[in-house]
Amino acid sequence: MAKRPGYWLALASGVACALAFVVASARAEVAVGDRITDQNMDKVKDLVSPGMEWVIKHGWPMTIGETKRIEWPKAYKEATEKYSGQVKLSPDGLKVDNYVAGLPFPNIDEKDSQAAMKIMWNWNYTYLTTDDVDLRNFDADTGSIADHGPLTVERHFLLDHFRRLFWNGRLYVDPKPEKPNPNGYRAQQGLYPILEPFDLKGVGALGNRYISSEKQDDSWLYLPSLRRVRRLSTAQRSDALFGQDTDVDSYYGYSGHIAWMDFKFLGERDLLSCYHAKNNPVKWHEKVDWAFDEPWEKRRVYVIEGVSKLPQYAYGKRVIFVDKEAWVIPYSDIYDRSGELWKIWINDMSFRKKAFDGANVIEYPDEMGFIPAIVMVDMQLEHATKASLPSPRFPGEQGWYFNQGEKAGITDDWFTVAALVNAGH
């Protein structure tokens, strides 16, 4: 019996679809040890974001590493098991009720209309820092970047401290799980003093974040040259100051208040992420020296879009990737108001118990999320800021001190405007 032409058409279409799938799958397959450059980046096209694709095209090297499990700190895991069952998200998604400690929403249902908000609240209460952190003696270079070449340093910054103190969700340092909190703080944060360049010596920033979504952040900037403390609006947290590319809201991948953005859940995907950096302090690539040269592993992430509710906010939208297991952000893309790709924030992360082997180096009972470096690239200006956390200029400096309380100088007094001004003198 003669077959109808439709049969052959259907068969041909089926074969074509299967071939297309095989080709697409092969393209996305990468193996441990693969070296990815702009020459073979088609291999990872479906495993990176447009921002990451941009930096690879401009010379960022990538070595594929083995995907390793990331263990949560024991106390965080126990707190999640103990308290997450009682946590409720308000219908508008802006308030987390009955939160004590741990991850508030361990079970994410992607069909839940509040999935995006729950994922972002989980990020807000990530275990990267539960009690406090002190980042010491770190530096940053900012300047234009050459295609497949180095960063031309325009300014070099050296900073003394970046400190964060969390007031609730605490697990290690007494009082816990919440400090007596009449002001309703979620966290206090300070970045001061700047030690270099000379014209910015003494400059610093300070901020308070409240648990209540109805309260805006308090943010101050101290400028010794003017002998003035300037108060900054919440929208100004997205401004890149002093000629460099980073903004406070982009720290860690996203550091704005969860309630001030409209978040959308865009799905799940595989993404190459750098979580097991070998070098601490960071080792920058010899030629493309604004890139860290570390293994990148395939991870499953949630993709979240964030659009600010604040009309003066600098960015049109952020596309934030949140790791499904580790609840950290490997990197986030930022678009301007016309949807043009503008910036990317990239974290160089290294989960480990010690900053490095050596005498007097703190050994934590669990693996902690060290971040030996960050890079923020402005693709429109071909300009970047890279920070070494800590600076290689301080041999033996651990950089990150987690949950050390007063031993690391984390006191309530440090987070005051008076202390900010005193340190700037």
């Binding site: 074509a16 679809c17 297309a20 799938f21 697409a24 996305a28 479906d46 974001s49 447009p50 694709e53 941009w54 095209k57 995907t67 499990r69 990331i70 263990e71 949560w72 965080y76 895991k77 999640t80 098991e81 361990p106 079970n107 992607e110 995006a116 959308k264 859940f265 865009l266 799905g267 995907r269 595989d270 592993e297 395939k298 991870r299 499953r300 993709v303 879009e305 049109g316 939208k317 596309v319 790791d323 499904k324 297991e325 580790a326 893309d333 678009y335 301007d336 016309s338 949807g339 043009e340 790709l341 503008w342 693709m379 429109q380």
Partner: protein, 187 residues
């Protein structure tokens, strides 16, 4: 003070007053503002009813319903409603960043040939807008687009292309998770 000094001071005040009145009082010139960029889709963001996007022989149709955006074709496609909403918003908000080519440009040069995505936006009033979305520009921050029937190739934000990629990636068969993160309490 003598009366001549008083008259002199009055005269000085009068001259200063006249100078202020004639020269200083004029309103400062209005700050120059850039003209608003034209919108790619002449439909208000809230007035988009349906978006149909086709690429590589596959088509996804999403429609705004009472409860929000939903994918109607292919039915049961594992595409989050938020993603199609974000794609529709990005299309409606898209601005023409620059006009790249006004002549009858070779569509292949801009990825606007059969590799391109075809997008059809339907408004609440039934108006249809057709678009073709092509390759990324050399700086990688934007993509080329064209409205059929016009010869102009314009640049629009890269964001639209990324969301389009996410939509078609969601249609592909699910790959195995990279990590075993699905346990209720991971870590």
């Amino acid at each position: 003070m003598r009366w001549r000094q008083v008259i002199f001071l009055y005269a000085v005040v009068a001259v200063l007053g006249a100078e202020y009145w004639v020269f200083e009082r004029r309103a400062p010139p209005a700050a120059e503002t850039l003209p608003a960029r034209p919108r790619l889709v002449p439909v208000a963001p809230g007035a988009v009813r349906e978006v149909r996007v086709s690429r590589g022989g596959r088509t996804v149709v999403s429609r705004r319903e009472a409860a929000g955006w939903a994918v109607v074709e292919p039915s049961d496609a594992p595409i989050p409603a938020d993603l199609v909403a974000a794609f529709a918003n990005a299309l409606a908000d898209a601005e023409e960043i620059a006009t790249i080519d006004r002549a009858d440009a070779d569509p292949r040069s801009y990825g606007l040939d059969d590799r391109a995505a075809r997008v059809e936006v339907t408004s609440e009033t039934g108006e249809h807008v057709l678009l073709t979305i092509g390759d990324a520009n050399p700086t990688g921050t934007a993509v080329y687009a064209r409205r059929p029937g016009t010869s102009e190739v314009v640049l629009i934000g890269r964001n639209i292309r990324y969301y389009e990629d996410l939509i078609f990636q969601a249609l592909s068969p699910q790959r195995a998770p990279a990590t075993e993160g699905d346990a209720p309490i991971a870590g």
